[in-house]
């Protein structure tokens, strides 16, 4: 990796850590340990199912919230506070700044996800007292969640590069919500006619397909994930994030800093 990108990424990570972003792990740990103790007492035979569902959904939601709330400020805050002036007056290209910020935020989320994953496995061990081979599938779900974060990071950065933090948050959350129902939207488009069909189809392919990245339900039921889906999702997420990041770079390259 270009060294300047690495420096910017590392500084972005440091900022997140010093702004106490990783404190969310405490809330996550409390939620999960509370849930594990509670389901252990009230459910019969489905403790594991509940812990996996709840744990992975929490990993995904906590991460998405962090990705959006940090991501929307990554560029706009630097412009607002004018910290960018002393960065861009150095031999740093604007695209390097955007890509560095992306990797910094993605790195923060990967570290955060790692600790949350440890929490999920700990809760699982607490309710089922041992690990089985099928539990390894949780790693696939976690991998898909990280792919989801990459897309959300890139979207937050794109909106941050031309909009205010508030609007960026609204846009990013809208994309996340609609993207979570992308399969339903595609189904609706297939049933619709005329202009509605084309509009729904356009929207369905424009928003990221988070439905395809959500395998939490099937993994909770110990259903295996096809290798082909892993490959497809990897390529899709990387391609989508790269496209959105390129759009962010295009916008930012032309932007006058106030």
């Amino acid at each position: 990796m270009n060294t300047r990108i690495a420096y910017i990424a590392s500084n972005t990570f440091r900022e997140a850590v010093r702004d106490r972003v990783l404190y969310n792990l405490i809330a996550f740990a409390l939620l999960l340990s509370g849930a594990a103790i509670l389901v252990g007492q009230i459910s019969i035979d489905i403790e594991k199912l509940v812990v996996i569902n709840l744990g992975l959904t929490a990993v995904s939601l906590f991460g998405v919230v962090i990705a959006i709330f940090i991501g929307i400020g990554l560029v706009s805050k630097e412009i607002e506070k004018r910290t960018l002036y002393t960065v861009l007056s150095r031999p740093v290209r604007r695209w390097e700044f955007i890509v560095g910020k992306f990797f910094g935020l993605a790195g923060t989320l990967v570290v955060n996800t790692f600790f949350m994953a440890v929490g999920v496995f700990a809760a699982l061990l607490y309710v089922s007292h041992k690990f089985v081979r099928a539990d390894a599938l949780i790693l696939v779900a976690l991998y898909f969640i990280v792919l989801e974060f990459l897309i959300v990071c890139s979207l937050s950065l794109l909106f941050s590069s031309f909009s205010t933090p508030l609007l960026s948050a609204v846009f990013a959350f809208s994309f996340f919500v609609v993207g979570s129902f992308a399969e339903d939207l595609r189904g609706f488009a297939r049933m619709a006619h005329g202009v509605t069909r084309w509009l729904a189809l356009g929207a369905a392919y424009l928003v990221p397909n988070f439905s395809a990245l959500n395998v939490i339900g099937s993994i909770a039921h110990e259903q295996p994930v096809a290798a082909q889906l892993i490959l497809q999702n990897t390529l899709y997420a990387l391609f989508y994030a790269a496209m959105v990041l390129s759009a962010a770079v295009l916008v930012f390259e032309r932007r006058n800093l106030k």
Partner: protein, 313 residues
């Protein structure tokens, strides 16, 4: 090769919400700054100084025109390795310490890793912040942040340094230190381009100055040339508190300060004024030709610009 060669740089903003109107912040600026000089870019607030600096730094894009810096296109990112920039009222990542911030900027500027730590400490010492290098910037005062700003601008030993209002927020001692630093930079062969509206700083430091007002260049020249034109007046200072009646008759305005009197008279009245003082047996201390100060030149340029604008309107 000029350090800075600006060719018709222009910036127009569209302002307004519904019906956007063009507002020209900088009108076709042409300016050359030679290597090794301290160049002052003077103008009142809102004159276009910061716009010019932001254009040169590539932070905003011009509507027209171009520039060359150290012989290369100003848009060439590599040229920035040889440039230092202190923005007006700088703000930095306040979660970092002064040392961490400079280390980070050193990395981005390509300062070799083996020299970086030594260089960071060197500039921190130079701006008087070595003792507080481990303190987070959120605990720094405005003056300390200005010093950090100066440190980051010179960290990578640039050939050309741009300072936007470098004295802002500094106490008299700090201002003196910055003036000394600029002189050291000049002695080391660096070019310093700084914007200010504090004319005494410019007069004390600059080899040449340019005056900008309402986005238009109003005058450029060597400080020595601009301030040496004799006004055809002399200043007389004598001891005592008495003003001879004949001097009053000449219509000379006198100012009493302590036990001396100061009067400015036209050159053709000089002999008559001295005779009047002798008759009254007053002790003459000094006779000095009155020269134009940079402030006089600045005010005159701004007034003539206002007059021209008034006539055009």
């Amino acid at each position: 090769m000029a350090a800075i060669d600006i060719q018709g740089l222009e910036k127009t903003y569209m302002v307004g919400f519904w019906r956007k109107q063009p507002k020209c912040a900088l009108h076709s600026l042409r300016l050359t700054v030679e290597q090794g000089e301290i160049f002052g870019f003077l103008g009142p607030n809102g004159a276009g100084k910061t716009t010019t600096l932001k254009l040169l730094m590539g932070l905003i894009f011009p509507t027209a025109g171009c520039a060359r810096i150290l012989g290369r296109e100003w848009t060439d990112p590599e040229i920035k390795a040889q440039i230092g920039f202190l923005p007006e009222q700088p703000y930095f990542y306040d979660y970092l310490t002064a040392h961490e911030l400079l280390e980070y900027y050193g990395q981005l500027s390509g300062v070799p890793a083996k020299n970086r730590k030594r260089r960071v400490e060197e500039v921190l010492r130079q701006v008087g912040l070595l003792e507080v290098r481990g303190v987070q910037l959120r605990k720094f005062s405005k003056g300390m942040l200005q010093r950090v700003g100066i440190a980051q601008a010179i960290l990578h030993d640039p050939s050309l340094v741009f300072f936007d209002e470098p004295m802002s927020g500094l106490d008299p001692m700090g201002r003196r230190e910055v003036r000394d630093l600029m002189e050291q930079l000049k002695l080391a062969g660096k070019t310093v381009f700084f914007s200010t509206h504090i004319l005494s700083d410019a007069e004390a430091l600059c080899d040449r100055v340019a005056i900008i007002h309402k986005g238009r260049l109003r005058g450029v020249g060597a400080v020595a040339d601009l301030t040496s034109s004799v006004q055809g007046k002399v200043e007389l200072i004598w001891q005592g508190t008495q003003v001879p009646a004949s001097l009053k008759l000449l219509g000379v305005e006198c100012h009493l300060t302590g036990d001396t009197v100061r009067a400015v008279v036209a050159e053709n009245q000089q002999d008559a004024a001295i005779d009047a003082l002798r008759r009254e047996r007053l002790r003459l201390i000094a006779i000095t030709p009155v020269r134009t100060s940079l402030e006089d030149y600045f005010v005159e340029k701004l007034r003539s610009a206002e007059t021209t604008a008034g006539r055009t309107a």
